[in-house]
Amino acid sequence: MNPNELRRMDLTLSEEHESIQDLFANFFAKQSPTTVARAAEPTGFDEGLWDQIVDLGVTRMAIPESAGGDGAGILELTLVAEELGRAIAPVPLIEHIVATRLLAASGDSELEDFLEEAANGDRILGLALQPLSGRQFVSTAAVARDIVGFDGENLVIVTSSGARAHVGNQASLPFAWVDPGEESVRVVRSSGAERLYSTAQREWKTLTAAALAGMTEASLAIAVKFVKTRETMGVIVGTLQGISFPLADVSIGIEGARNLARRAAWFLDNEPETEAGLQAAAIAYASGVAMRGTTTTAHAQGGLGFTVEADASLYFLRAKGWALAGGSPLLDLKTVGELRISAVTAANQSKERRESWISAL
């Protein structure tokens, strides 16, 4: 963002946003306490929770009205994703939503029934988060039989004949290997497949960034509660700057991560061609915050935070996996860097700068 541009920077939520937030905060708090995430290990899927989410209408909420959905924007969905992250809810909701939107956007009329099953939640869709040029390690593929992806030319749906073997992973995500060479591949008819897929990737990054912000905040809350009462040397641990400052830093990071994800969402909804690197920036930043945040908050509990019994461990173990599911965040940094450099070289800002180079003293 150019800080000299006259744009609004309004980070407040509307009443409608707040009611979405409340609804899902309550829903996940009630239906997906950490015991649910624990019980869903190691596959990372709770079918009962999935059904409830479907009943709530979330899988339909995100589909454009033209395709029979409620036409919610990505910004509304970030609010859902934050709460899902806070509850580390074991459902592949983000991928399912993004994959459904992607297929809906393709306009392939032969997919109508398929899409209806996805909107119903009867058919869980997964998402290949990198172009499918061969075997790929896909975060949803042990639960979703149908993996939506991009083969370099077309959108495709890769479907396994049976359930794919779950590959254990520290994040307890439903990872499995997907191999288009050995599974059934359906080509989706659409124009601009590459652009559509790129939008889907950006939607996934944005929503996952929001989920990571929510996850980190829940993790921080555990630590704060702990250090408020725990004593050492006759003082409350939370009064020691060696503890309180790192927790403050986590809090600072969460605020930035959450707002950056929301900002990235707003641009997707309103000006998708503007600031096109924001979604990559959002997940790269949220990824770092989640790692530092869950590490710091687990450590704030000393040895306890390192035990399987402690809920802090659930957050720590998921932070890396959720962030990496789409690939190395270093690729996102490169995307952001390329866009930053080309923005400068494209706009000849030399005139503005000549006038404005004045010390900020």
Partner: protein, 402 residues
């Protein structure tokens, strides 16, 4: 949630043009050279010209010396000035104190001061920190003693930025050393031309100038007292909270999420612009830095940090702004190599020396308006609700060291 471009109606477009024209005319090469040489954060001629247009207190009605601007008008004014980097430090301290003057000044001085502020003839500076006091403002030892209708003030204050260009200092003094620490304080608006005041310049390695101000039996009328005797903490809290919270009240998206943070991060923005240009420039051997994916990644990483920091609000944004600039400027120097060390005006400087400047400037941002440690404490206690440490000197005032 709204990040859209602000569409301007005709009057606002006209204002924008007017300010832009004003900056071009007023902020001359000479004015720039003066600012670079002095680090004053102030230019009297520009300040007075702003006063003539009502832009010192732009939201005030014209009959009070303002320009009657609405919030969008204020934003336009602010952005045009900031964009051109018109010196703003003394303007900033002046505005910060105005509401305390409005509320607490005696009838004898209030109207004069406010009128002079609006016209640009009166500038105000902050007399908080003491030479051995650090961040503990409430530990002030500068003494004010009543003598009939007058007060006699003795002591010294550090980092009174802009004192040499100001008419008044918003001074915190100790009026009762026997009361608990926060209760024995009284605020004054001390005219800086009063005998017994000596201002000495202190120079930061960013090029900025601040001051140490000595008060030697300075005698002022009780008219200059702000608020109650021993009620100084209440008076000071307003400006201090404003400085510490730095958030806007209005949900119209016209304020920066963290004003302080954004003012720091603007330097990183310019530095990233310059490094991006450097990256696409051929070296003597014909290669370009941008051909190395590690360079692209590094620029991307700093851009990510920048984008997150600018949407980090309030006190968090103040810390994020400083941390991001400090780390970012150092990383950019590493990326570019020795040419990044060359300052403005020297042969081979990159981006007119912006990298060199940003790196030096960055260090001060960890202290301005309260150190990052003060703000981390605010976040820990007020946002996370962690208990307050029980420091022996938090409540009690002691003049002797233990």
């Amino acid at each position: 949630m709204d990040f859209s471009t602000v569409e301007l109606d005709a009057p606002h477009r006209q204002l924008q043009e007017e300010v832009s024209e004003f900056v071009r005319e007023q902020f001359t090469e000479d004015a720039y050279a003066h600012e670079y040489a002095t680090g004053d954060g102030f230019n009297e001629s520009i300040h007075l010209a702003m006063g003539q247009r009502g832009w010192i207190m732009p939201a005030w009605p014209t009959d009070k010396g303002g320009a009657g601007l609405d919030r969008l008008g204020e934003r336009i004014l602010e952005l045009e000035l900031e964009k051109a980097r018109v010196p703003w430090v003394t303007l900033g301290t002046t505005r910060l104190i105005v509401s305390a003057v409005e509320r607490y000044a005696s009838d004898a001085i209030r109207d004069t001061v406010l009128t002079d502020v609006a016209s640009g003839h009166a500038r105000l500076c902050l007399g908080y920190t003491e030479p051995d006091g650090g961040s503990d403002i409430a530990g002030a030892k500068t003494k004010a003693t009543r003598d009939g209708d007058e007060w006699i003030i003795s002591g010294s204050k550090m980092f009174t930025t802009g004192a040499h260009n100001s008419q008044y200092v918003f001074l915190i003094t100790r009026t009762d050393p026997d009361l608990p620490k926060h209760k024995g304080l009284t605020m004054f608006l001390v005219p800086l031309d009063t005998p017994g005041i000596e201002i000495q310049g202190i120079h930061a390695f960013s090029g900025e100038r601040t001051n140490i101000v000595f008060y030697d039996e300075v005698r002022i009328s009780d008219d200059y007292r702000l608020g109650e005797v021993n009620g100084g903490w209440t008076v000071l809290r307003g400006p201090l909270d404003e400085e510490h919270n730095m958030g806007s009240g209005e949900p119209d998206g016209l304020d920066d999420p963290s004003a302080f943070g954004m003012s720091f991060l603007r330097e990183l923005h310019y530095a990233l612009d310059d490094v991006s240009r450097w990256a696409t420039t051929e070296r003597v051997d014909g290669t370009r830095p941008v051909d190395d994916p590690a360079v692209v990644q590094a620029i991307g990483e700093l851009t990510v940090q920048f984008e997150a920091a600018i949407v980090t609000p309030g006190p968090a944004g103040r810390v994020a702004g400083s941390d991001t600039l400090v780390a970012g400027a150092a990383a950019l120097l590493d990326l570019v190599g020795p040419e990044a060390l060359i300052p403005r005006g020297q042969p081979g400087a990159i981006g007119d020396g912006q990298l060199d400047f940003a790196h030096r400037f960055a260090q001060g941002t960890a202290t301005y308006g309260g150190t990052v440690e003060v703000f981390r404490t605010i976040i820990a206690q007020h946002q996370l609700g962690l208990p307050r440490p029980n420091y022996p000197g938090a409540k009690v005032f002691r003049t002797t060291k233990s």
